[in-house]
């Protein structure tokens, strides 16, 4: 067989996926530096276990799964370390777009910040990255019913927070 090695295969495809991996990382870490660190770590991990990726499956969901696990490990380690270590600075993504976009971006990020981790992951995969419910459930390793109810709760909470923000006096 003359197909590329799994390593080259994964590496080749990752190049085009990077913008989306960065976006997913930004959503789940809520911090610009953490997000790129997470992408870097995930890419390194993926390349090291490229042989575990099945070419018939989606590389993006596989990567999201690696990133989710790495992030959860990181949160645990950080919690353990927090006695020694100052907490991470919060960071918001404020691009150089129009004021309206920026307002939206800020209020959405503030609302996302308040979701529980598990709901934020569901939102990131389905609503932002566009995975199907089934793909997202597989990526997170949870039943599809659990995914659906997390997503529904997250949506309800986000909607409430964003409506509040909009109605608040300016």
């Amino acid at each position: 067989m003359n197909r590329p090695s799994p390593f080259d295969d994964v590496r080749g495809q990752l190049g085009t996926l990077l913008p989306r991996l960065r976006r997913f990382a930004r959503v789940i870490t809520r911090n610009v530096e953490d997000a790129d660190d997470l992408v870097q770590v995930a890419v390194e991990k993926a390349l090291m276990r490229a042989d575990q990726w099945r070419p018939e499956s989606r590389l993006d969901s596989w990567m999201f799964g690696i990133m989710k696990n790495a992030w959860i490990d990181e949160i645990r380690a950080r919690r353990r370390r927090s006695k020694v270590h100052a907490p991470e600075e919060a960071g918001l993504n404020v691009g150089d777009r129009s004021a309206e976009d920026r307002d939206n971006s800020l209020s959405v990020q503030a609302a996302m910040e308040r979701l529980p981790e598990e709901q934020r992951l569901a939102v990131a995969l389905v609503l932002i990255e566009g995975l199907s419910y089934k793909e997202a459930a597989e990526t997170l390793g949870i039943p599809i019913g659990t995914l659906t109810s997390r997503l529904a709760r997250a949506r309800e909470a986000l909607q409430a927070m964003l409506d509040d923000a909009r109605e608040a006096p300016r």
Binding site: R11, G12, L14, G15, L18, P19, R20, R22, R23, R26, V27, E33, D36, D37, L38, V39, Q40, V41, V43, E44, K45, L47, M48, A70, D73, E74, R76, A77, R78, R80, R81, K83, V84, H85, A86, E88, N93, G95, R97, D101, N104, S105, V108, Q109, V123, V126, L127, I128, S132, Y133, T148, S149, L151, A152, R155, E156, L158, Q159, L162
Partner: protein, 251 residues
């Protein structure tokens, strides 16, 4: 017919089959409230996408794009190139306990920048069991507490016991090109487990935050339980850093 909110959400997300879709669309045609709920779901999705869409247009940092196209051999840093162009990764504060490749690298010893300090005054030397601390570094590892600012070039970071019960300590060497590492007690020696380029200690970056990522990862892989506190550290030093077998009580 009433539809659950989850069903309307699934409809808005394009998750329903043809039949269910047709049912909802028929109901929406006569029930503006239903149409409004679906529209709210769609609008929220669009808002979220807009909020994060900007990330897609940002240029990908070179350190990431180079990973995906350039050959990757090992997740270690090269001191020489880092000194020329410190990359954001140099300041990475990440720890990854289950990073298997790191564990593999540790088994071989991850020494980065070692060659730069070889010479008569080097703070370590090659022994049969690998690199061991010598000189100031060895003295500091044996005698200095983390709370001591240290008169010399060595600062101690944290001390802990590894899974085999041996004591290990992280340290920084204040040189022109600062180094940081992890050493574990082996007999009367301190065997170096990791040595890596460190970012110069500036202003607010202190303590664990000033340790390079590879050192923090090595700690996470090796550590058994929590780091020693000040009294534990003093007691361990006073006892000569003798390894404490698993679950052994105070002597």
């Amino acid at each position: 017919m009433r539809f659950s909110d989850e069903m309307l959400m699934a409809y808005a997300d394009g998750e329903l089959d043809l039949v269910a879709r047709a049912e909802i669309e028929a109901a929406m045609a006569t029930d503006p409230e239903l149409a409004r709920v679906v529209e709210r779901h769609r609008a929220l999705r669009a808002r979220l996408q807009a909020a994060y869409g900007g990330v897609l247009d940002e240029p990908v940092p070179a350190q990431l794009s180079s990973l995906a196209v350039a050959p990757v051999t090992a997740p270690v840093v090269d001191l020489a190139s880092r000194r020329v162009a410190p990359s954001p990764a140099a300041q990475r504060r990440w720890v990854l306990p289950q990073w298997s490749a790191m564990a593999a690298a540790l088994a071989l010893g991850a020494f980065i920048g070692v060659l730069l300090l070889r010479g008569p005054a080097a703070p370590y030397e090659e022994s049969e069991s690998g690199l061991v601390a010598r000189g100031d570094l060895a003295r500091a590892l044996t005698g200095q507490l983390a709370s001591d600012p240290g008169a010399g070039t060595v600062r101690i970071g944290m001390s802990f016991r590894d899974r085999s019960g041996s004591y290990c300590r992280t340290f920084r060497l204040q040189h022109e090109a600062p180094l940081a590492g992890l050493a574990c007690r082996a007999g009367e020696d301190w065997r170096l487990q990791v040595l890596a380029a460190a970012t110069p200690e500036g202003g607010e970056v202190r303590g664990a935050a000033a340790m390079p990522m590879v050192v923090l990862q090595a700690v996470d892989i090796a550590i058994d339980g929590e780091p020693l506190d000040a009294s534990g550290e003093t007691a361990a030093r006073d006892a000569g850093w003798r390894a404490v077998p698993e679950s052994a009580g105070e002597k």
